[in-house]
Symmetry: C2
Subunit: 498 residues, 2 copies
């Protein structure tokens, strides 16, 4: 029976891949005028997936392999990996069943409507345009949380969608500790003068050349990779053999492209190294959004902002852009890319202040879901918290509570995975360093395969054999904490302190 079930689940996965292609294409190649026709295609596939996932046929197949009340495995011939998959399928089935089709349709329709309203409201810097539909979305999110059900806090039900088994109870101490550490870090920090070249114009063609140099060294299999440009860089994977990243080149933001490439490259590495033989089963999937984000942040920050990385790549950058880099030393450049500067926009934040942006969003989301704040309170709350956490107040809502698309897309519960990604990344990176004391010298020679192989073996190829908690314990020997992340920042930034 397992075989029949796996076949049906495989078909659902194929539909999922097709849905990924539709989304990827929407943001990369699709002609603008096709937006309505694309919604119809996506709605069609989403409905088909939901129908299949909640069908009586699927339930029957599942129940013949696993007992729904005791979690006991009924098919005696299944492997360890198949048991993991069965439990995950069951969990997902129960979740899908809790959300009636009518609810999903309302939610999809609301977010489709909300998107252009959010765009317009942001453009006009007018929160009042967005707030009525955001109120609807928040109501739907509360409904979703209650439909899904959670034992302790309603927000847990939403968190679990992106970071399985994560709860407010586990998350708050982590974020609380970070809040104290990072806020005081930021307040005590004094930057060297802002480097003049940060906003200098760099010809796109040459930026692309430098990108190519990085790509040559990243341990990505080019036969499994496709690279495009998009307004907001992202990674989308249809299959371990079909991984797509997007980057963005901007004349006045050289670093933007470099770090976006490393970030998306990190996501891509995870996806292309997932165990292909388990494609279509949970074991073939990534563990969580937080673990996924750890892979992108590890390459973007731990590696991309390391001295060793630039020891190899800075001479190449100097060669491509003799102006201005010929007259800037490596150590000066290294310091320049470590500016810490509280600023209102999350996606432009440095690696120190970034997590504070996430904490702010989490606190507001949680308050909304637990009813301790209303949508109309958001703009004020945002300003207060921004002052409290980062010591600045955004001048406009456009640079404040209207900046991110997440709420318009009903992605409540998602933001915390960005913060978790930083924590996982630092803890994994520390373990990698312990296991590979010579790592610096290989990176200094432009060899990124040591880290690539370590991640592949310890994390990527494991698929979803372990939960995030289990994986962290297994790979690092310790439960998740903020220690590695705090040490990573302290260790690095002490060199730049004025």
């Amino acid at each position: 029976m397992y075989k029949k079930l796996a076949k049906e689940a495989y078909n659902i996965q194929i539909l999922g891949s097709i849905d990924s292609l539709l989304s990827w294409d929407l943001e990369t190649r699709m002609p603008k005028a096709a937006i309505e026709s694309r919604s119809e295609q996506q709605e069609f596939i989403a409905t088909l997936i939901h129908k299949k996932e909640t069908s009586t046929k699927y339930k029957k197949l599942l129940s013949s392999c696993i007992d729904f009340s005791s979690d006991k495995i009924l098919d005696p011939h299944v492997s360890k990996e198949q048991i993991i998959s069965l439990r995950d399928w069951k969990k997902n089935y129960l979740k899908a069943k809790k959300l009636p089709t009518s609810f999903i349709k309302t939610l999809t329709k609301t977010t489709s409507t909300a998107f252009p309203i959010w765009v317009n409201s942001k453009k006009k810097n007018d929160f009042s345009l967005f707030s009525p539909i955001l109120e609807k979305i928040v109501e739907l999110m509360k409904k979703k949380a209650s439909l899904l059900g959670a034992q302790e806090h309603p927000y847990d039900a939403l968190l679990d969608l992106y970071e399985p088994n994560m709860t407010v109870k586990k998350l708050e101490p982590l974020l609380g500790s970070l809040k104290t550490f990072l806020s005081s870090f930021v307040r005590s920090w004094k930057n060297a003068p802002t480097p003049f070249w940060l906003t200098q114009s760099f010809p796109l063609e040459k930026q692309k050349l430098f990108s190519q140099e990085i790509l040559k060294r990243l341990p990505l299999d080019p036969s499994r990779l496709c690279i495009d440009e998009a307004e907001h860089p992202f990674t989308s994977s249809l299959h371990p053999t079909d991984v797509r990243i997007t980057t963005r080149f901007q004349e006045n933001y050289l670093l933007g492209n470099i770090f976006a490439l490393l970030h998306e490259g990190g996501h891509a590495l995870y996806d292309m190294n997932l165990p292909q033989e388990y494609f279509g089963t949970p074991v073939g999937e990534a563990i969580s959004h937080g673990i996924h984000e750890s892979q992108s942040r590890l390459w973007e920050t731990c590696i991309g902002k390391s001295y060793s990385f630039w020891k190899y790549f800075y001479p190449i950058l100097q060669q491509i852009f003799p102006n201005p880099f010929e007259s800037i030393s490596l150590s000066q450049f290294y310091q320049d890319i470590h500016q810490v500067e509280p600023s209102p926009i999350r996606i432009e934040a440095d690696e120190v202040t970034y997590t504070l942006h996430i904490i702010l969003r989490f606190e507001i989301e949680k308050a909304l879901i637990e009813n301790s704040c209303q949508v109309k309170d958001i703009p004020d709350l945002w300003r207060t918290k921004m002052q409290d956490l980062l010591g600045i107040t955004p001048l406009t809502d456009k640079e404040g509570c209207l900046q991110d698309v997440h709420w318009a897309s009903a992605l409540f519960g998602y933001f915390p995975t960005y913060a978790l990604g930083n924590l996982y990344a630092a803890q994994f990176f520390a373990a990698f360093q312990d296991a590979n004391p010579t790592w610096k010298s290989s990176i200094e020679q432009g060899d990124l395969t040591l880290l690539g192989s370590w991640l592949r073996e310890n994390i990527h190829a494991q698929g979803k054999r372990y939960t995030a908690e289990e994986l962290v314990e297994k790979v690092t020997g310790k439960p998740l904490s903020t220690k590695a992340y705090e040490s990573y920042l302290e260790e690095k930034y002490k060199h730049f302190k004025n």
Copy 2:
């Protein structure tokens, strides 16, 4: 009931659009390693479409609107367009029903296998590698013809898939007349010396600039268009708002890109001007492959090789490529792009010899299907016919019977639509000229909208309201013949005769 039926048909069309995206992506952006996973996705969607098209539910809906034996419309509230759609849906249903799922699976599997074999056999110039699988394909084509059934000639059943209502009986006189005309044209032709610049190297970046100039003037809506590069240029449309063309830039083949862009642009214009309000019903579709090809050939040859077109564009070309065009007059250039030269490769053929390549393929295909020739005879037959039609003999099978992918893809019945496209194009173009005596002066000013609007109104926006035969009669006042095409060539080439 019509409404319910239309809803179901609309869903089938959405799946068709998704299938188009999968195919487009396969040839443009998909990472190479994803080929197996892509086949699974395509097979999944194709099977789903076939299931829906042949389901009892669909049949019931259809039969409640149209009587299957008398073709009588049973729903009294339907419009003229809906009647056309009902008849077409019925025809397609009966066709789909005649092909068992097992047959379709075998055919799909055989062609997937055949493709790499053909590539390899062509690469090694060894027909014997390809012939065993081609024999299988020919057998399957005979089977398909017999399953579909045809009244007069088995090949008619295959022709009808690409050119509805076309038959060997109607086609042979047309091609016979062309054969006589074109063969004698070619034999009596003496070229001026081959222009030195034809194979000159032109930097790709500058070629792209010139492409942009043409694109600016083509009456294509940029918000509905996406342009990529592909090995073999093609057009693929998901919806009238989502039309995708591909072109190919080659350093040593300046004209290749220019004419490919006009060709694909012509296809794209048809697709984006189809009546969007009928999307999902036959009335919203193109009439046939032949009519589609007429739109591409009209822009590529009738316009793209017209003196008026170059009167506007040649100065731009000269500006972009002062070397060599500054020293070449417009009339010399115009003559240079009208070389007539029998050559073995179809896709490189000029507008005069091109159709002879098609006649050759049609004759061999027909002989194979009616059993008057065997696969093993193809290479010899090809050489004999090539000598007979074009007066040349290809030196290798790679440049002969192995050059095209069509047979490996089981596209028997498709080639004739290329020849029909030329005939339709010339006849439409003559009607356009009659109706718009001032057409030359507008094109000389770079204004291509006169033709664009005429085609839109008379052909594109009609969708499938008429059959190809009806449309030709309606638009040109005459049934399809070879006259317009022959006059078009005679009129033009008489200026170049030595």
